[in-house]
Amino acid sequence: MKQQTVDDLVEKRLRLESSPHIKSAFTTSKAMYCVIIALVPCIVSAIVFFGFYQLVVILTCVLFAVATEYIVKKVRKQNLTISDGSAALTGLLLALTLPPNYPLYACAIGSIFAIFIGKEIFGGLGFNIFNPALLGRAFLQASFPVETTTWVNPKAIPEAITSATPLAHFKFDRVLTDVSNLFLGNISGSLGETSALAILLGGIFLVIIGVINWEIPVSMIVGMIVFEGILFLIDPTKFAHPLFHILSGGFLFGAIFMATDWVTSPLTKKGMWIFGILISLLIVIIRNFGGLPEGVMYAILLMNAVTPLINKYTVPKIFGEGK
């Protein structure tokens, strides 16, 4: 007779599954694919403005993210969760935060880091503290500072090969970029972040079908208008107007696709407002007073760390609890 092992015993009697046990037809994987669909305009704008090579960058990131997830799940003997699309989405989001013409080996390293350290180390989807894609981006920024801050002009402007982003241009040269260019995306920047139009299209789609809450993006924009508005009113020559800051850099992309991550953002409406406004405050501080021209990534990562605390203090009052 075959010897019984502990695993056999557990297999027979228990079937382990994490909550919730009540299921809706709108599953996590459907939400993930909705976000991927919402990112299509950003992918198209990246290819239109920066060329077909960006598609290779995106595919590399997605491929390595999915492969890392596959290997980790195999080694840990857990259920394969690749079909839920979360790993592919992380790779896609990471790719869209990278500068154009990014070296492929760095894409691979960033994706592996994002999935392995950012997500699987904590226990997989739903357990991560930080947004995995942003963590991968932060790792790449620290690992390859030169490659990660080399920006390329969109193809429409052929004379310059490399150029500063609008934020860097403003911070170091005091040149304000045209709002219409910022809106359409005809500027240098990361793959997915340049075109405000494409991001807003995806964002509105996500809000309408209910994948993301409108509170976080709106509170971030409100926060940016208030804080940057105050600075702009104090000294218009030194600080740019709020609209410039909303449309430039990764602000909109972060607000709609990064800060709204289900796992790493607060659960309550009140918490979401606090979360969004504090992200904006951090962005305003980093962009205006910090050494770097852009701070959306660090602002969101820092607030991810605060999310459990926000959740703790914004627990809704139980009905009939009294004061």
């Binding site: 019984q4 502990v6 390293i109 620290a142 690992s143 390859f144």
Partner: protein
């Protein structure tokens, strides 16, 4: 329990079972700060081991003379004496290494491993056992720093002890010489150490349970 009382175990426990870095999680400050390159890690570990061995030995000799109320202060005085010796010797003989390690040599005074062994072991055991314990802990510290600094140096510049290991042109992760790289590497090392212990324990238990089920 038989294993615990053996003299050889006093030395061997520092290597793995009670490794100061991987198991006791002591002395994190020098561990994270100086392991940028292998040579720094070795120098730091040797300096710490020197202080650890001599202070443990001396404290163990005078352990019955020290009044209980002022024992920590007395330990620190002994430790500080040996740290001063190391500091001046390094400044005279290896001025470059001394500059590289900077404030971390004087900071050995407050290294938790040394005070921890003095309080936890040397003040309760005879000098010979204390000496073995300190040597074991020092070696364990050296091994951990060696592993940590090797990984960091290899990934940040492709070299170990200055010798080219990875082929030139391999992407170099600058993050590994930054504090973030130290935290990530150390965290993964802790994870690997815990995983090893877990798997070993699980296997032992499984053998017992399998035997039980099949009888």
């Amino acid at each position: 329990m038989a294993k615990v009382n053996k003299l050889s175990y006093e030395f061997l426990k520092g290597l793995w079972d009670q490794n100061p870095i991987l198991k006791q999680i002591l002395g994190m400050c020098p561990t994270l700060a100086v392991t940028v390159s292998v040579i720094n890690g070795i120098a730091m570990a040797l300096a710490t081991t020197f202080v650890l061995v001599f202070s443990s030995f001396l404290i163990s000799i005078i352990r019955k003379l020290i009044p209980n109320q002022v024992r920590i202060a007395s330990f620190i005085v002994v430790i500080a004496t040996f740290v001063t010796v190391v500091d001046y010797v390094m400044r005279a003989l290896f001025p470059e290494m001394s500059k590289l390690l900077g404030p971390f040599i004087p900071l050995i005074v407050v290294n938790c491993i040394i005070l921890g062994r003095a309080e936890g072991f040397a003040s309760k055991n005879n000098p010979f056992r204390s000496l073995l314990d300190a040597l074991g802990m020092g070696t364990g510290f050296l091994i951990s720093l060696l592993v940590l600094s090797s990984i960091r140096e290899l990934l940040s510049s492709g070299t170990i002890l200055g010798f080219q290991i990875l082929p030139k042109g391999t992407p170099q992760l600058l993050v590994m010489i930054l504090p973030a790289g130290a935290f990530i590497t150390l965290g993964l090392l802790f994870g690997a150490a815990n995983l090893y212990t877990l798997v070993r324990e699980r296997k032992e238990k499984e053998v017992i349970i399998t035997k039980y089920i099949n009888t």
